[in-house]
Symmetry: C2
Subunit: 457 residues, 2 copies
């Protein structure tokens, strides 16, 4: 319990307007896009690093759990305050502090929305590559906490690849900084890479220096359909094997495409067992040449239809199907369980077959979306949480899907993280000593265990 | 002191042939390419992860310092066993365990020579991008320990960007694994990124899963000379600002070029104040177009001469000057002090001016080589260590050069690391709490401080 005395101490730091503890407010900070909920005792909105430090000093002295929160778009329960305490919401630390395209970096506070950074960079012809599905609403701080990916991470890499430096407030309230504005920096331990993806369990990011890159001269989008899923997946590895690294290579299976077509009537090919949405970017002539090669590889794999788009409008049309998938699935059942596994690219067709076999066995429907170029797959199961039998089947099916992914050389999560969702599955990919090693690091850095307690470590 | 009993226990694990303790052997493992030396008590050559684990269990129980060593090409003293004990040399763990270009990874032991991995990858049209100057002799384990860079890291990134997973033996002898064969993996803490660049102070890499990429279709090299250093540096930022990211952009100053010309007689332009060696790669048409743009930008900056090379032979000729720089400098004086700082790209010309002003002040000669595209600069001072006055001036000059780099927003090391060379300078770029945080992590992971003791943490 947070006493009135402690409440007043915190309010003295952040101001009354930045403290919430009425139940109708707290309920808004009890959940993310995962299934579990838990109420915090208070929500605090710091405006500066000093305020974060001040709050952490109190929390540390009082052993109050502190769970960081950006926009709450996480899909693994990472910001759900399962041990109560304080939710530290970074939405008021939303300033872009510096953009320097000559030296290719941007300095931002953690509450900056990913898309707002993109907007600010656009006039100078630069962009920040990580593009999680949530990018129009999710924050850079949340992206860092979860090491967010996205479609174009195939070519450009994930969030951790764009962190040049971080300012971090530790559990003790101490303020540390690692990295710099320099693209190359091997000064001391790479602790900013450790903080990235640690889901708020090791420290709180209060400022980030991010690498930004020039926008490509040209972008081209291709939508290619196949009669057969193996040919779809083989096209993916043939294209990459030929030396082309597209910005994005998205795969949709037949169930997904039909669900979209049922809902949106875009004139998609209902017979296609597999659809690839491929985006290439770079020098115009290179895009042209790569498009020709991609089409060759697709034809050699018996592509049924090929659509090409160069203009932003035509490209947006092709992306509509992919982007609408989650919304469409949401209409199929009261709940939708979207998962996130990764397998080596060559195992994508086998993994899809196993997903279908497993879900068939439990009488469940399933759609598969994949960032196919890097083997990152999202099986989506529409179901009803109130139907206990069905729900037990969903859980059982996912148990088997995770085991299958690991058996094929894959892993538990490509971009969504562990959070509450997958803690119990960690032993599938880590031995006890490796898990203990994580705990050793956690215990050293946060000895009282107040940072996002009750999660994977 | 390692007792005979302990010696026998270790020999029981690794075999007699893998233990050295005669002074004439030990002296070979006392140094790297930095200036300081220290004798170990024994050198041990493990052949398997189990053997490494076994040795570490003994070292841990007996609190014997253990310093890992690859090929000893480090230039910061990282593998120098300043507290004696055991040097664990990984040269016998030199197997390439798996190459899978379809899924774009290679699995190697730490003693594999960087160039040997390249040779093994070449027939399948792939390569491993990090290319430190030492790549023909340095090991992957050493590259990981130092987070090695190299010329083409401008476009491709440094070692840490290519680590998918690591097997690590901890100080306790426990064996842990982080990461996987999957390009996208957010399962648990990113501890392999923390180990990378930690210079053997946190754990010993016994196996690495590395990302590999397809070789580009075409490569083109340009050598461009300028009358003025500012125009040279401005060309660098103009080229990058135009959206081109060359594989490499190497800058040489007039002193360096003349030293090379004195020694090698390559017909270089002695009047050029700045020379850029630029390499671009990718789709052939893109290279052609980028070369035209680069030449435009260079001409706009009053380039004096421009040479282009497409064939491997012609390209090698242009690279000869750059590659011979260290050898040439070695002839100028008994010692050569090569340093490694990084500044934001826009600050490269100002940093070169400051380096020249500082060294002039101390009556020293200096040549500057720079991976200019990422602001990573190597000032080289030829001097004589036995000339005490000159040597004191070298030390003083570098103190001022480091301070100037930090003042310009730069940092202490872009790719060489901290080791023994720069520990005392760390407070220039880190506050006490940040250094303490590194020590906290170190103390948790290696509580007896036996892994590479006496270094930066």
């Amino acid at each position: 319990m947070i006493s009135d005395k402690i409440k007043n101490e915190i309010i003295n730091i952040v101001g009354e307007a930045c403290w919430l503890d009425r139940p109708e407010h707290l309920v808004c900070y009890a959940y993310d896009a995962f299934l579990e909920e838990a109420l915090p005792e208070a929500v605090v909105f710091p405006k500066t690093t000093r305020e974060v430090s001040g709050v952490m000093k109190i929390a540390s002295a009082q052993q109050i759990p502190v769970t960081a929160r950006g926009a709450g778009t996480s899909v693994c329960g990472a910001p759900v305050p399962v041990r109560g305490g304080i939710v530290l919401c970074f939405s008021k630390m939303d300033k872009i502090l510096e953009i320097n395209t000559r030296d290719r970096y941007a300095v931002v506070q953690p509450g900056v929305i990913n898309a707002d950074l993109q907007k600010a960079l656009a006039p100078s012809g630069f962009f920040y590559p990580p593009d999680p599905g949530s990018m129009t609403i999710s924050t850079i701080g949340g992206n860092i906490a979860q090491n967010a990916g996205g479609p174009r991470c195939l070519k450009y890499g994930v969030t951790v690849d764009y962190i040049l430096g971080l300012e971090i407030v530790l559990a003790s309230g101490k303020i540390v900084r690692f990295g710099s504005k320099n693209v190359k920096d091997v000064t001391g331990y790479r602790l900013s890479s450790l903080i990235c993806g640690s889901e708020g369990t090791l420290g709180l990011v209060t400022e980030a220096i991010l690498k930004v890159v020039p926008q490509p001269e040209a972008v081209k989008t291709l939508m290619i359909t196949f009669k057969d899923l193996d040919y779809t997946a083989k096209s993916v590895s043939d294209i990459i094997g030929s030396g082309i690294l597209p910005a994005a290579m998205e795969l949709m299976d037949q169930f997904t495409l039909n669900a979209i077509e049922d809902s949106a009537g875009l004139g998609l090919d209902r017979e296609a067992r597999g659809t690839l949405l491929i985006e290439i970017d770079g020098i115009k002539e290179a895009c042209e040449k790569e498009a020709i090669k991609i089409i060759e590889k697709a034809r050699a794999n018996h592509a049924v239809s090929i659509r090409e788009a160069d203009s932003p409008e035509d490209r947006a049309e092709l992306w509509t199907a992919r982007r609408s998938a989650y919304g469409v699935f949401a209409k199929l059942a009261p709940d939708i369980v979207s998962e996130d596994i990764t397998v080596p690219v060559s195992q994508v067709p086998e993994m899809i077959r196993r997903i279908v076999t497993i879900t068939d066995h439990y009488g469940l429907r399933v759609g598969v979306l994949a960032h196919a170029g890097d083997g990152n797959m999202h099986p989506l199961i529409p179901a009803d949480r109130n139907n206990k039998e069905e729900w037990a089947n969903v859980i059982q099916a996912y148990d088997e899907i995770f085991a299958a992914a690991v058996e094929l050389g894959g892993t538990l999560s490509g971009e969504h993280g562990i959070g509450l969702a997958k803690t119990e599955y960690l032993p599938l990919v880590m031995n006890q000593d490796s898990m203990d090693f994580m705990k050793t690091v956690k215990a050293a850095v946060d000895p009282d265990g107040i940072l996002n307690p009750g999660k994977f470590v």
